[in-house]
Symmetry: C2
Subunit: 315 residues, 2 copies
C-alpha cells in the first residue's frame, strides 16, 4: 500500500470536529449473550480511552436481575478511577433514584436516563406511560444536577416503533422538550429499530430546530438493522449535529425490539469521518485492534465491516 486510505477529502457543509459518544461497554455488552468478566470490561474501557475516545459510557446501574451482563457495575467503577483523572468522561445509565444513589456513592460524575418517544416502548421497557417515566426521572435529574453531575437523556424510538410504525416528529419534539426542561444537558435521538432514512432525519432535526432546540444539544444514535446508520449519521452532520453515538465493533442492539441488530460500529463511522477530514481524536487502527481483542472474548467475529476488512488485511 503506497498511499494511506481512506483518502482525506473534506465535503462542504460538515463540521470540523465530531465527538464520538462510545456506547460499546454499556449499550453493546448489555445486548451480548456472553457475560464478560469485570476485568475484561475494565481493560476494554481502558483500551477505548487509549485509542482516543474521550466519552465512554461505562455501565448501567439498573437492577442486576434486569441486565445480568452489567450486574458488576459497582465492581467496575473503582477499576476506572485513573481514567477520570485523565479527563475521560465515563457516564453511566441510571433508571431511577436507587440507581442514582449507587452511582453517586461510587463517585460517578456523569449519568444518563433512558426515555421513550412512544407509549408502546415506554410500556414494554419501563411498564409506564411516557409521562410517568418523565415523572420518575424528575427527581433523578434534579438530584444529579444538585450534585453537579450532568445528565444525558436517551430517547428511544424517535423514527419508528415495532408496534406503532412510523413515529411523528411532533411526538418526538414534545418529549425532547420535556427532557430538556427536566435539566438534561444533551438528548440522544435513538433509532432503536434502525428504520430511519435521511429525509426523516432532516425532518426531525428541522422540527427540533423550529421548536428552539439547537443541534449542539443533540446527539444521534442510529442502528444498522437495515444498513442505514451511516447515511443517517451523515445527514445529521449536514444539519449541524456534532455528537454521534457509536459502539466499538458494532456491539449490541436492543433486546426488546425484535428485529434490532447492532449499533452503528464506531470503526465504520470513523472510516467515514477520517475520509472527510473530520477530527475525532480517535486512532482507527488501535480501535480495530481493541474490537478484535474483545471479539475473541465474545467468541464471535465483529459485525463491523471496517473491523473485518482491516483485521483481514493485518492477519
Amino acid at each position: 500500500m503506497t498511499g494511506e486510505l481512506p483518502m482525506r477529502v473534506p465535503d462542504a457543509g460538515l463540521p470540523a470536529r465530531v465527538r464520538i459518544h462510545e456506547v460499546g461497554p454499556r449499550d453493546g455488552l448489555q445486548n451480548e449473550k456472553t457475560i464478560v468478566p469485570v476485568a475484561v470490561k475494565a481493560e476494554f474501557i481502558h483500551r477505548l480511552a487509549d485509542a482516543g475516545l474521550t466519552t465512554v459510557e461505562a455501565t448501567s446501574f439498573v437492577h442486576p436481575a434486569w441486565v445480568p451482563q452489567l450486574a458488576d457495575a459497582a465492581e467496575l467503577m473503582p477499576l476506572l478511577e485513573d481514567l477520570g483523572d485523565r479527563a475521560v468522561r465515563l457516564p453511566v445509565l441510571v433508571p431511577n433514584e436507587r440507581g442514582l444513589d449507587r452511582a453517586l456513592s461510587l463517585g460517578v460524575r456523569e449519568i444518563a436516563v433512558f426515555a421513550s418517544a412512544t407509549e408502546s416502548f415506554a410500556q414494554a421497557n419501563l411498564n409506564r406511560t411516557v409521562d410517568e417515566t418523565l415523572t420518575m426521572f424528575e427527581p433523578v435529574v434534579s438530584r444529579a444536577l444538585r450534585a453537579e453531575v450532568p445528565v444525558r437523556g436517551y430517547l428511544s424510538m424517535c423514527f419508528g416503533d415495532p408496534w406503532e410504525g412510523p413515529v411523528p416528529a411532533a411526538q418526538v419534539v414534545r418529549v425532547v422538550l420535556r427532557l430538556l426542561d427536566l435539566g438534561c444537558e444533551e438528548i440522544s435521538l435513538g433509532d432503536t429499530i434502525g428504520v430511519a432514512t435521511p429525509g426523516q432525519v432532516t425532518a426531525l432535526l428541522g422540527a427540533l430546530g423550529e421548536a428552539g432546540v439547537p443541534p449542539g444539544r443533540l446527539a444521534v444514535h442510529f442502528h444498522d438493522t437495515y444498513g442505514q446508520a451511516l447515511s443517517n449519521t451523515l445527514t445529521a452532520l449536514r444539519h449541524g449535529v456534532t455528537t454521534v453515538d457509536a459502539s466499538a465493533g458494532g456491539l449490541g442492539g436492543c433486546p426488546f425490539a425484535k428485529s434490532a441488530t447492532g449499533n452503528l460500529a464506531t470503526e465504520d463511522l470513523l472510516w467515514m469521518l477520517q475520509g472527510l477530514g473530520i477530527d475525532t481524536g480517535v486512532d482507527l487502527r488501535r480501535l480495530v485492534a481493541t474490537s478484535d481483542w474483545l471479539a475473541s472474548h465474545l467468541g464471535r467475529p465483529s459485525p463491523s465491516r471496517t473491523v473485518r476488512a482491516l483485521s483481514h488485511k493485518e492477519s
Copy 2:
C-alpha cells in the same frame, strides 16, 4: 405493525426517480464460490425482473476458464428470451471481440466493457496498460454500435487501489473521457475496494462535471467493504446521479482485490430510496424473498442487513 416502514419522507436535492442497474447475476455470482446451475440463474433473473428490476446484468462472455461461475453464458441467454420481449434490459459483459461475437450471435442487445482507472489493476486484471485496454475495447465498442447495441463502460478503482492507494480524480476523468469518446453510453464509476468517502465522491463528480460529463451519463458502483456504500450513493444522488449499481442480497465482490467484500445490497439501497420516496419500480418484499431463495442455493445467509432483518421478521 400498524404503520408501513420505512416511513416515506422526501429530502431536498434528490432525484424523483432512480434506475437500479442490478448486477447480482453477473458481478455477484461471478464472485461466489458456489457454481449455480443455469436453470437457477434463469429463475433468479426472472424473479429479479418480476420484482420490478428493469436492468439486470445477466452474465459475462469472458473465457470460461477465467470465470467458471459464468461459463454457461451461451446456455443462459436463450432461457431469458421472454424477458427481452417484456422490455427488461439484459446487458452482458464482454472482454474482447471474441466475446462480442458470441454475445451478438445469441441476440444480446446491450453490452458492457470493463476498464481500470489505475495501471496496477489494468495489469492485474487484463495484463495490459490502461491505454492498451482502451485500444482493445475500441473495435468492440465500434462493432457493437454498428449492430445498434449500446455499450456501458465499467471503470474500476475510481477512488482507491490496493496497490497504489488513493486515486487522483484527474486520472479517473481522463479514462472516463476516453471511454465516452469510444462511444460508451454510460460509465459506471466503481469503488472496487470500497474505500471511498462522501468528500471523494463529491470531488470526483465535480471534476467530471468540469470536464463536461453530465451526471446522466454516469452510474455509481460502490462496495461495502468498510460499510460506506450507501453514504457514498446518497452523496452521488445529491450530485445528480440517477443510476445506481447494486447486487441483490449483496452478492459478490472482486476476486482480485484482497479485502473486497460484497457490492452494495440492492435491498439496503431500496430501503433508503423507498424511505426517501424515490421511485424505482421495485418491490422490496419480492426482492427479499428472491435473495432468500438464492441464499438457500448458495448455502449461506445473505450479507444484506435488510434481507436479514425482513427474513427474520417473516420467519
